[in-house]
Symmetry: C2
Subunit: 85 residues, 2 copies
């Protein structure tokens, strides 16, 4: 068993309205960043988990995303990185 | 002017209590992932912005983080990637 640190990105699916992202984009333009075209706000989740191999840690983290971390109706997720910690 | 897509990670600073992360870790263990040791929940923000160069897009996005996106008292941020879109 080793300990792995798995980073996951969970972002609103393309085509799904992201009101938080719109609000942030408006605020940034108002603050003096006129070049901002679009903002999308998602979650960055870092899971530290014990697993036999990095591949096992990836499989387990995918299952965590499907069961709890992401809402598949409105969100996509991707495993961004896996490092031994 | 080109359009750049800049991804930013905003995470609770080391040593700062992350109650959302603790709740997620507890829920994952209850759901049948006993190997989970720790979870930290941050934000993954993707900004699409017009800038002359990738370096200008990076500098501008750092300023956005400092002024609006991150709370420097309790959060760290890092520019995860910059791609031309």
């Amino acid at each position: 068993m080793s300990r792995y640190r798995v980073a996951v990105h969970i972002i609103p699916r393309e085509g799904i309205l992201d009101p938080q992202g719109h609000a942030v984009a408006d605020a940034l333009r108002t603050l003096g960043f006129p070049g901002v075209q679009d903002v999308r706000v998602g979650r960055h989740v870092v899971v530290e988990t014990d697993a036999d191999t990095a591949e096992a840690a990836r499989t387990e983290t995918r299952a965590m995303c499907e069961r709890l971390l992401a809402n598949p109706v409105i969100e996509d997720f991707e495993i961004a990185s896996i490092t031994r910690s």
